[in-house]
Symmetry: C2
Subunit: 290 residues, 2 copies
């Protein structure tokens, strides 16, 4: 298969959009990358940093003539972006996104885009607690997983194009249903973020808060790293994947109640069983992923 990609439009040139642009340039995947977004300052910064080749504030104009449009804005802004780009989309333009929840984005795409337009829902499992174009780097996606969530109606050619795009920046592309994606991510990403935000907030309500954080060691530092993530982005993700997140929170609550009862009963064996099981799984997972 030989492909020629002329223009890619990236809407939202933050950490994800900016890093993708840098990676695509490095891979010489396309001729031209146009940036688009709400903030002209960000787009000017992206130009300065050679992240994009040009920018355009008007979304319909920005996507005009693009082979691929990548929407990498916070989940809560995706609907409005879809509405704004719709008039500018060409017959063969493929639209994809990078949102952390997929069922909600697919619902919106189905509502807004006429059926003849291609939409491929995607989620790069990458990122740091930092955000913004200044945090972008060209190998953010190298050896990272990107999940695409096609269904039986998805156009195969459009799907292949987005797969090749992500592969060109070093990502490993995998496919699953949007439902399964949302469940898995609720457990491995959304719930952990809520626990980290919740823990810091909970300790903040103790007296002598400075005191408390002063004695926090390296383990706490790592554990709460994700509590430094962008609040807007995480509000949107939690609301976007609300049902799965709430279901995972209920499961976790039961788990903690189980541990609480073991403490209440001074049941050291039960605690050790839980801790040993977790350590084993976590060590195994790390071995595989390191």
């Amino acid at each position: 298969m030989s492909i020629t990609v002329n223009k890619i439009c990236i809407i939202g040139t933050g950490l994800i959009g900016g890093s993708l642009a840098l990676g695509l340039k490095k891979a010489k995947f396309c001729e031209h990358i146009t940036g688009c977004g709400r903030s002209e300052d960000t787009l000017k910064k992206a130009m300065e940093l050679d992240v994009i080749d040009s920018y355009e504030m008007d979304m319909a104009k920005a996507v005009s003539g693009a082979d691929i449009v990548v929407v990498s804005v916070p989940l809560g802004a995706i609907r409005s972006v879809f509405e704004k780009i719709r008039p500018g989309l060409g017959e063969t333009t493929v639209v994809t996104d990078a949102g952390s929840a997929k069922q909600c984005v697919i619902r919106e795409a189905n509502e807004i885009f006429p059926s003849k337009h291609y939409f491929i829902a995607g989620h790069p499992i990458a990122g740091t607690e930092k955000s913004g174009v200044t945090a972008a780097f060209d190998n953010l996606f190298e050896n990272r997983k990107v999940i695409l969530t096609p269904d039986e109606n998805t156009d195969k050619t459009a799907l292949a194009l987005i797969e090749i795009m992500w592969q060109s920046v070093g990502a490993e592309v995998e496919f699953m249903s949007a439902e399964h994606h949302d469940l898995v991510l609720a457990g491995t990403s959304h719930l952990p973020h809520l626990l980290a935000f919740g823990l810091v907030d909970c300790l903040n309500n103790l007296d002598d808060v400075d005191e408390v954080f002063k004695y926090a060691a390296g383990g706490f530092h790592d554990f709460t790293r994700i509590a430094s993530s962008d609040p807007d982005m995480w509000r949107d993700i939690c609301l976007g994947n609300r049902d799965e997140v709430m279901s995972m929170m209920r499961r976790f609550k039961q788990e903690m109640e189980n541990i609480y009862r073991a403490l209440e009963d001074n049941d050291g064996d039960k605690l050790k069983t839980i801790f040993s099981r977790s350590k084993k799984i976590r060590d195994l997972f790390c071995e595989k992923n390191s």
Copy 2:
């Protein structure tokens, strides 16, 4: 003040005891370090690695003639160690420990040691998720906090000796009540460990567990690092600091119920307020500690 420390006996030459021994040797703080513990293999390994100068399996013999005895065994084993070393303690031997909960250790010391013996309760806020003498290194305590929890009956000279010992390996020594220590550590260390163990165990109960962990990214990796900690040690810590840990778990449960209600109500503003507050606190704390 000029001090000459001849012999130090370290009971439990794991990560903490072993690293302390290596640090004390590097600082030339004493003439001789004797190791003691349940496992002769570990002590032989500690000899091989030049962590200790000699070893002795009999605890009363091991502490005989020591100026300082450092008990760095899991909390659950401290009582039995105190009982075993008691007959060997000299008139001026100072005993200290490295346990992660202090009220329970002090209760045991008060029960077991005759009043004429000095006991200084201590807790080095250092460590990694690794354990054992092979993980020990000489600068583990450099710029790390060590908390000593004296009360009005504590011998001032004994306290100063333990303070100087920790300072000699680069630690910053601070003082607080055992009650306050246990509350602070329940929040910044014990609860986070329970949440990490609990999260991994909770995800382990989902179907397709390999699948789940396969898509876990860097954030999850950092968040769950402490779930690779030693299960015996953490069972002992949780039981040792049971009341404070349970109280912190109840606080955290309320926090999570608050977040759950915000999701139920689709209350994005409330979620953003909590996330922003946490991010601000966490960023501030990191700035101070980096």
